[in-house]
Amino acid sequence: MTTTPSALELRVAAVADAAPGIRSVTLERPDGRRLPAYPPGSHLVLRCGERTNAYSLTGDGVDPDAYRISVLRIEDGQGGSRWVHDLRVGDPVEARLPRTAFAPVSRAAKHLLIAGGIGVTPILSHLRAAVRWGRPVQVLYGFRDGYAAHVDDLRELAGADVELLPELDDFTARLEEVLVVQPVGTHLYVCGPPAMIEHTLSRASELGWPESRLHFEKFGADVLDPGDPFTVVLDDGEQVEVPSGTSLLEALEKTGRSVPHLCRQGVCGECQLSVTGGRPLHRDHYLTDAEKAAGDALMACVSRADGPTLEVSLS
């Protein structure tokens, strides 16, 4: 674990069309070794040309031999999905370690899984884990007729506990029925288009579901933002470039300067620097709201500049 690199060099082992416009891609290590495990509902961050995008992993995360994703092609997006759809077997792909942000609640008496369209991908991962560990589960899958993905996988895993709902009216009506008959202890997980998530969550709340039982994943929400590049001006007047994807702390360390630091995650306060000019963009969890508003300090390991330059003092 302590030797797991943060970037994984993978290779496309297989591509297939799961449905019109939905491409399933299988990624493996070139040497065939097993991949780092991941909790259900995890996503994989891929470098897609100039950008990075996150895609939910659909496979079983226990001792995986491959990472499998299914991606909906979006014509007027930023290009990430088009990049994925252009992948061919054998192509190299750079990925980061899987990240967990939508994991099942262990204590749930039952898992109510609600998928809309391509939102079925993390739901499928949840379903695999539920079957592995013998957890009660029920799946509602709403989709545009002819555009369902992974139906065979869902049926094979959960049989009659999976309901396919190709008509929006059927989905909406069935949701109403299902929301009021769940045994105490059930947790709900929803993933799909934003409007569908909003509808599901608001109906559930209106029908008495408490916040603690509602879990959702909106695609695009958790991608790590590499940030805009900026220039930092130091005490002695030297200017250091901080590129996108490099932290202020890393940029300063690359110049040979030593900056006190510890956690590299914005929680411990060790790398605090004084800001003497420009406006900081705070991304830490250490400074109070008042301290952030004052704008005269920032955490070098995670925070950046709101604007093209920032003046800091290292003394």
Partner: protein, 335 residues
């Protein structure tokens, strides 16, 4: 005479010193969210620590025997709430991988097929075929089984809206009761610690843990003091060791230096990659003052830190009664 059940060690001082994680980076100690990435070896004046998330040293057999005896006497030190079965397996699997990676000469994990493994621990003469998730393939509950092969205490935190300490094997607790605390939230467990709540330290630590990612472990250290080489200073056994805190003031200086130990915990914080639970590994080290004093930078800094420690912190750490004598002893040892 000090309390019974202290484990005398025949381990030479040099070996205790070589792996000792001296806990004071500055001349003043206060609580902080002192987490850092794990796995970077820390070089000390007399050795090294922190190369891996598990640490086997020359005390391995003795401490495992101590753990087994404590669990026999008090089964409440081992608990796995029903929903934590997957996390317990995840912890066992993760620890086997870590042991095999850190000690390849004596630990091996071999894949036999889907979910089928063969584990070898040569230090304990264990060869075990097992199926991940299948309780019938292990001789005992998985968390207890793996806890019988590491010197670390293990706590598993279930992640819901907050983190809850819902499973663990803790035989070497420093002044707390895992048996009572099982099921409490992380914030509730840390309720009694002074200063950390108003200063926001525990909330930051909690938020940090909630965001931990698999395969990116972190670590931090904690410290206190113990009279006698005694690992189990839990609330449960307080009547056995509590009066040592007063008795120690009556002994001569030579005995004081031999009996009073600096106690350091190295805690590793790991997001388990299947269940998503957070695993806390707590590895405890004890070093008598007389050995500590042989390393001049350690002697000097420890004297300063302990002498300066505010009364409420010294009281919470249980050292208030012998704090002054400890600082004085360390000062004098340098002359």
């Amino acid at each position: 005479m000090m309390s019974t059940a202290t484990i005398a060690t025949a381990t030479p001082t040099s070996e205790l010193l070589a792996g000792f994680p001296f806990p004071f980076p500055e001349d003043r100690y206060r609580y902080s969210t002192n987490v850092q990435p794990a796995g970077d070896p820390v070089t000390t004046p007399v050795g090294q620590w922190g190369r891996a998330v598990v640490d086997i040293d020359v005390e391995y057999a003795a401490e495992l025997a101590d753990r087994a005896e404590i669990l026999r006497r008090d089964p409440s030190r081992h608990a796995v709430l029903p929903h934590m079965r997957a996390a317990a397996w995840d912890a066992a699997m993760t620890l086997m991988r870590e042991l095999a990676a850190a000690y390849p000469a004596s630990m091996r994990l071999e894949r036999l097929g889907d979910d089928r493994w063969c584990w070898n621990n040569d230090l304990l003469g264990i060869t075990q075929e097992l199926t991940y998730g299948d309780d019938s393939t292990l001789p005992e509950e998985p968390l207890r089984w793996i806890a019988g092969q590491v010197q670390e205490d293990i706590v598993l935190l279930d992640q819901r809206e907050q983190l809850y300490g819902d499973a663990g094997v803790v035989t070497f607790a420093a002044d707390w009761s895992f048996g009572f605390d099982v099921g409490m939230s992380f914030l509730e467990i840390h309720g009694p610690v002074p200063r950390i709540h108003p200063e926001g330290i525990i909330k930051r630590a909690h938020d940090f843990l909630m965001r931990l990612q698999p395969h990116q472990p972190y670590r931090r250290t904690n410290w206190s003091m113990t009279i006698g080489r005694r690992l189990d200073v839990s609330t449960e056994t307080y009547p056995e060791w509590g009066s040592d805190r007063e008795r120690i003031l009556l002994v001569d200086d030579e005995t004081f230096g031999r009996e009073v130990h600096l106690r350091v915990e190295v805690q590793h914080l790991i997001r388990l990659p299947d269940s998503g639970a957070v695993m806390f590994l707590i590895r405890t080290y004890l070093l008598p003052l007389e050995a500590l004093a042989t390393v001049e930078p350690w002697r000097e800094r420890a004297a300063t830190v302990i002498g300066e420690l505010p009364a409420d912190l010294a009281d919470y750490k249980g050292i208030i009664k012998y704090q002054a004598r400890t600082a004085a002893w360390l000062e004098a040892a340098g002359r």
